[in-house]
């Protein structure tokens, strides 16, 4: 089973994301900030990362930069999932190596569509 690392300082958001992603056949690992997410990645890289932007200790943008510099860190598909819903943030995320971007609030269909978009789930799966 593929692993998705869910990085968000809100336990509620992590719980919602877990439920959605488990429904899409992912095994979930949670982290509440970028620093803890990096520790998870050092132990083993996940196939996917669902990543919040604003978090204490280390934000999502910094985490993404660190992840992409790690050996093999270009492999995980990173999908931002944030309330930062303006074009400037989206452009920054893409240039830092994000694969997709979800603007909160989100639902299962949006997560499935974005994960499908980056090839993490089959085209037919979310239909």
């Amino acid at each position: 089973m593929r692993t998705c690392l869910v990085v968000d300082d809100s336990a509620v958001v992590r719980k919602i994301a877990r439920r959605i992603l488990e429904g899409l056949d992912f095994q979930i690992v949670e982290a509440e900030d970028g620093e803890k997410a990096l520790e998870v990645c050092r132990r083993g890289l996940p196939e996917a990362v669902l990543l919040d932007w604003n978090m204490p200790v280390m934000d999502g943008y910094q985490f993404l930069g660190e992840l992409r510099r790690m050996p093999g860190g270009d492999q995980p598909k990173v999908v931002f999932c944030t309330t930062e819903n303006d074009v400037a943030h989206i452009a920054r995320a893409l240039s830092a190596g994000a694969n997709e971007y979800i603007m909160k609030p989100f639902d299962k269909d949006i997560v499935a569509a974005k994960f499908q978009e980056v090839g993490l789930i089959d085209v037919a799966a979310p239909e």
Partner: protein, 295 residues
């Protein structure tokens, strides 16, 4: 809603829009018409039906609109757009190399996501279409959805369903909480109200027709009639694209499935030359959108 109200609505919707509701679709009527009855200051579907029986054409039109509006999203089902990009357009580019024009019809255009997905796909082809005349016609029964399509204004939820983020950044402008598709993409799409049950030969002939996820609502005879009329407005070397749950097989010989490309069909040469419609339809030449694809 009483069984009598339901029967009345079923018959009326079938007559006016071809919508074929089976006996167990009460929930669909309630979910669509209760909001409408509230909006119209009526107590419920019973009163709505009374107004319709009393001859209120405005209420009747709104009922038809509410029942025939379907959910849609950008690049819906993904695969048809891959066929469009990798099979259909390469063939059309070759076949129309001297004419340098392509006409596309989204026959159930709804709120515009399909037509604009095709328009963005064409834009992505860049130089290959430089100097070509491109026309995408989006039709729908509902004036309300056509208005939305024309505006090209979508909520954050709508732009996140099926639209890759790179395309959102490239082809949309953020206006407050909404996202509007750029003017050069909007200019590629024309809009027109059209009932698929009525004659559409005046539209002229198309190279590509997308008619997805609408025929499932029609009964067998209506589908056959629509297929045969679609065949008359499809160029002999053109393409028809249907939804995943739709097929011509067993209904008509006017089209044949394209091998190993699910949902893609080509016309069969069964037609008499005299039944062909002219290549240039009733659409004014100046309305043919060419914006953005000139070299």
């Amino acid at each position: 809603m009483t069984p009598f109200d339901y029967d009345y609505l079923r018959k009326l919707l079938r007559e006016l829009s071809g919508l074929d509701l089976s006996a167990d679709k009460q929930y669909l009527i309630e979910s669509r018409l209760l909001p409408l009855s509230r909006k119209s200051g009526l107590s419920g579907i019973g009163e709505l039906v009374q107004k319709m029986k009393g001859g209120s054409s405005s209420i009747t039109a709104q009922v038809v609109e509410a029942m025939t509006t379907n959910e849609t999203f950008f690049f819906r089902d993904k695969i048809p757009f891959e066929h469009f990009r990798t099979l259909i357009m390469p063939e059309i580019l070759q076949a129309r190399a001297s004419r340098r024009s392509v006409r596309i019809w989204c026959a159930a255009g709804s709120t515009g996501q399909e037509a604009y997905s095709l328009a963005m796909s064409l834009k992505e082809m860049g130089a290959a279409l430089a100097g070509w005349r491109v026309e995408i016609l989006a039709t729908d029964l509902s004036l309300e959805v056509l208005e939305k399509s024309r505006a090209g204004l979508y909520s954050q939820f709508e732009v996140q369903r099926g639209l890759p983020i790179q395309m959102l950044v490239k082809y949309f402008k953020q206006t407050g909480e909404f996202w509007q598709i750029n003017a050069d993409i909007r200019a590629l799409v024309q809009h027109r109200q059209l009932n698929l049950l009525h004659d559409f030969s005046q539209l002229g002939a198309f190279d590509i027709i997308f008619c997805r996820n609408v025929l499932i609502y029609f009964d067998q005879d209506t589908k056959i009639g629509i297929f045969n009329r679609l065949a008359k407005v499809t160029e002999p070397d053109g393409f028809l694209v249907l939804g995943a749950a739709e097929t011509v097989v067993g209904l008509t010989n006017a089209f044949r499935p394209y091998p190993e490309r699910r949902g893609v069909y080509r016309p069969n040469d069964l037609r008499l030359a005299s039944s062909r419609v002219p290549a240039v339809g009733a659409i004014a030449p100046k309305a043919l959108a060419v914006a953005g694809l000139r070299p």
